[in-house]
């Protein structure tokens, strides 16, 4: 029994399946027994801070940390808890409850290497189309949008348009985000203000967070002057030596390689795919990280420069001209990044876009 609307008119009319690729943290994480160990909605409202899978605070970092072998996309271990395993569970309801239930959700472990999840997504699209299903509509929210782009870059020339008819990117941080900086440098406060250290320790084992570091030079001095490449976050020399525990060259290398793939995002889409990109421009959004006396001190925000996570101008710059043409900026009272899909205007407009006629693969 689902709890969203029941009818997807576009699916009935076109026979296409709409696949929703949710954002970071929007998939619950379950342990090997099926027990939910991470539910972002409960964490956000403060309910799970005392019951993270029933583990005491001292075990949180070990529970949610991952292990990767250098240069290998697949995780070696999805948790450092002995004998345990974490798996993607179901997708949380709140951010996507305005979408028709017929939109199929694609859950994934949002901590893992973006390219690993992108390969999994591409494999599923290939298998299902080969199995007789029609071309897909893809909605990618936040990290989900990045997975769609990366899946397309992995596809053979002309292949992606045979698998996909329409793509909607919602708040996709193609150029990265200062939220990733916050998670890696200061620790995210969602587990509690006094648990930032724990949050940072686990985040530093997650490739996806590094891969969403800003592609622009975000580190500035106290006067706002941009610091040179060697003092930026994508270089090991940019991290203060006494504050770089857990940060590895392997993770930064993953970030640099992924960012290159996210530049000019539709280069391998091929003709025949309709693309629409939703971006918020009404929330204060981070753009720079201030470094003073060799230490990171604060993130500075710009007024109404994005959706609170993805910086509009920087994303457009990194995406390039062909990307810019697909962007619809939303202002006014539009929801912030995490809840963009729960904004009735955006949800309605996405549904409308999914009914727009689409050409055959290979046709401009």
């Amino acid at each position: 029994m689902g709890w969203r609307g029941r009818v997807d008119a576009s699916a009935i009319l076109t026979g296409m399946t709409t696949l929703l690729i949710p954002g970071t943290q929007a998939t619950r994480l379950d342990d090997q027994d099926g027990t939910v160990v991470y539910n972002a909605v409960r964490v956000e409202v403060g309910l799970q801070k005392n019951d993270l899978g029933g583990r005491p605070i001292s075990e949180w970092a070990r529970l949610l940390s991952m292990e990767h072998a250098e240069g290998v996309l697949d995780p070696v271990r999805t948790t450092l808890e002995p004998g345990a395993e974490l798996r993607p569970g179901s997708v949380v309801v709140t951010p996507y409850q305005l979408f028709p239930h017929a939109y199929e959700e694609w859950s994934y472990d949002w901590r893992a290497d973006l390219r690993w999840n992108a390969i999994r997504l591409l494999s599923e699209l290939r298998a299902r189309v080969a199995g007789g299903e029609g071309r897909f509509n893809l909605i990618g929210h936040s990290q989900g949008g990045l997975l769609i782009v990366l899946a397309s870059k992995r596809a053979n020339p002309g292949e992606f348009a045979r698998l996909v008819a329409r793509v909607v990117l919602v708040g996709a941080p193609l150029a990265g985000t200062l939220r990733a900086v916050e998670a890696l440098v200061f620790g995210h406060p969602s587990l509690g203000e006094n648990q930032r250290g724990v949050a940072r320790q686990m985040a530093r084992t997650w490739p996806s967070i590094y891969q969403m570091l800003p592609a622009w030079r975000c580190v500035v001095d106290e006067h706002g002057t941009t610091l040179p490449e060697g003092e930026q976050l994508l270089s090991m020399t940019g991290w203060p030596s006494d504050d770089a525990g857990g940060v590895t060259e392997d993770m930064l290398s993953r970030a640099r390689k992924t960012q290159i793939l996210l530049h000019d995002p539709f280069a391998n889409f091929g003709p025949g795919i309709r693309v629409w990109t939703v971006m918020g421009v009404n929330k204060d959004t981070g753009r720079t990280l201030v470094k003073k006396d060799g230490r990171f001190v604060s993130i500075s925000m710009e007024k109404k420069s994005g959706d609170s996570l993805a910086h509009y101008a920087e994303t457009l710059k990194w995406g390039g001209e062909s990307f810019s043409f697909t962007v619809v900026p939303y202002g006014g009272g539009t929801e912030a990044h995490a809840m963009l899909c729960a904004d009735e205007t955006i949800a309605d407009h996405i549904k409308h876009f999914l009914t727009v006629p689409v050409p055959e693969p290979g046709v401009v």
Binding site: G5, Q97, L98
Partner: protein, 172 residues
């Protein structure tokens, strides 16, 4: 009579659920005319009044959107001579975008209720992502021809049951 009301309200709710594109289940607690609550489950429908843009697009500024709720449930209405009875409840209105802390939609709604039979106007505010809405207003109770205060709180069933209480079998 009251059973007929419930059947009609439930039928409308089911049909609306099937037809509405942007709809979701909603748990509602309302006090219509007195402090005895009615607890109903229904379908919450939203519709933007901002037309879809065409590319290349200028900034889309959404301002107004429509809301409707149709629900059915029970009312705890001892003062009217019965302890628990069935009821139907609903509202319809237009909300404007707002940025007032946790409130991001605000506007007037028309409220209607059966058992007690009442209708009136209320002001509604909504929290981010439509997880909850609060309304306060004034209704005319037709049974005793009086005007009384009305208050209601509705919460997204998916938010409450699936995400917070984790009671959905498949999580959706």
């Amino acid at each position: 009579m009251r059973l007929t009301t419930l059947v009609v309200a439930t039928s409308v709710t089911v049909v609306a659920s099937a037809q509405a594109q942007t709809s979701s289940p909603r748990l509602n607690v309302a006090m219509v005319g007195d402090w005895r609550p009615a607890v109903t489950l229904g379908v919450f429908w939203t519709k933007t009044l901002t037309p879809p843009p065409t590319l290349p697009a200028a900034i889309v500024e959404s301002h107004w959107s429509l809301r409707a709720l149709l629900s059915a449930g029970v009312t705890f209405a001892a003062p009217r001579g019965y302890a628990i009875d069935m009821t139907g409840f609903g509202y319809f209105g237009a909300l404007r975008d707002a940025e007032l802390g946790p409130i991001n939609r605000i506007g007037p709604v028309v409220v209607g209720s059966v058992n007690p039979n009442a209708a009136g106007l209320a002001a509604r505010v909504e929290a981010s992502a439509r997880v909850a809405g609060l309304q306060l207003g004034w209704v005319r109770v037709f049974e005793d021809d009086t005007h009384r205060v009305f208050g209601g709180l509705d919460v997204s069933f998916g938010f409450l049951a699936c995400d917070i209480l984790q009671r959905c079998r498949d999580g959706t």
